[in-house]
């Protein structure tokens, strides 16, 4: 089924994966908002997404047919998860900023939903094309 989906759909799929991962990280931070010594985690997955898209662009240039995507590309990208260096330590060594994490979570949710909607639209257009507009007698 790989060849059925164009690079944009694959990229959207990978974006959904990364945002899901981000939700995990953020909820981990929120759950540990009061744990002494806990360092808030963060991931720069927008950079990972950019890398994935660049990778797919470059691969496109080298192959004759964009169908010949190969195994590398948008799917192969993992985000780096690391302790947030900007974290401010409170008395017990905890660096979680609860309000900031809540804001991050909301943003993540909105962009996740946007990706789902975009994916739905794209697949809808493909389906429409396949059904030949329903007017072919």
């Amino acid at each position: 089924m790989k060849s059925f989906f164009d690079p944009t759909i694959r990229a959207l799929n990978q974006n959904l994966n990364l945002r899901e991962e981000n939700q995990n990280i953020i909820s981990g931070n929120i759950a540990n908002a009061d744990t002494p010594g806990y360092k808030a985690k963060t991931a720069n997955f927008e950079q990972a997404m950019r890398d994935a898209l660049d990778l797919s662009e470059n691969v496109k240039l080298e192959t004759s047919d964009h169908e010949h995507f190969g195994s590398k590309g948008a799917e192969a990208v993992q985000a780096d998860i690391y302790d947030d260096p900007n974290g401010v330590e409170s008395l017990d060594g905890n660096t979680v900023d609860r309000a900031a994490e809540m804001a991050k979570m909301k943003e993540n949710q909105v962009l996740y939903n946007a990706s789902i909607e975009a994916l739905r639209k794209k697949i809808g257009m493909l389906e429409y094309g396949v059904s030949e507009g329903g007017g072919n007698k």
């Binding site: 164009d6 944009t8 990229a11 959207l12 974006n15 927008e46 997404m49 950019r50 898209l53 909105v110 962009l111 946007a114 990706s115 909607e117 975009a118 639209k121 794209k122 809808g124 257009m125 493909l126 429409y128 094309g129 396949v130 030949e132 507009g133 007017g135 072919n136 007698k137």
Partner: protein
Amino acid sequence: MNSINTSFKQIDPDLGLRQGGMTSESTGMNAPGAAGDAKGSTFFDALQNSMQEVNQNQLEADASIKDLIAGKTKNIHETMLQLQKADLSLKTMMQVRNKILEAYKEVMKMQV
């Protein structure tokens, strides 16, 4: 875009047939033949323009999506509108194509 190309190719031989079929020799009538030829090329051009526009809209929508997920823009409504535009232009083009096919079949019925 493959499905669109397929349906377009489907029209192409049809139109070619019509242009070839509606000559004054085969039907014995001058007026419809001439009118048919002229009409055929106009439809053809209109459809081709429509297709190019659809393709352009699709590419713009794809680029807009890529910007959104790469974090280059947080403009969600713009991306959504681009997608809607692409969707609508696709549907419009399909309807135009359907109408042409309908018209062709009507005309074909008339020949005998």
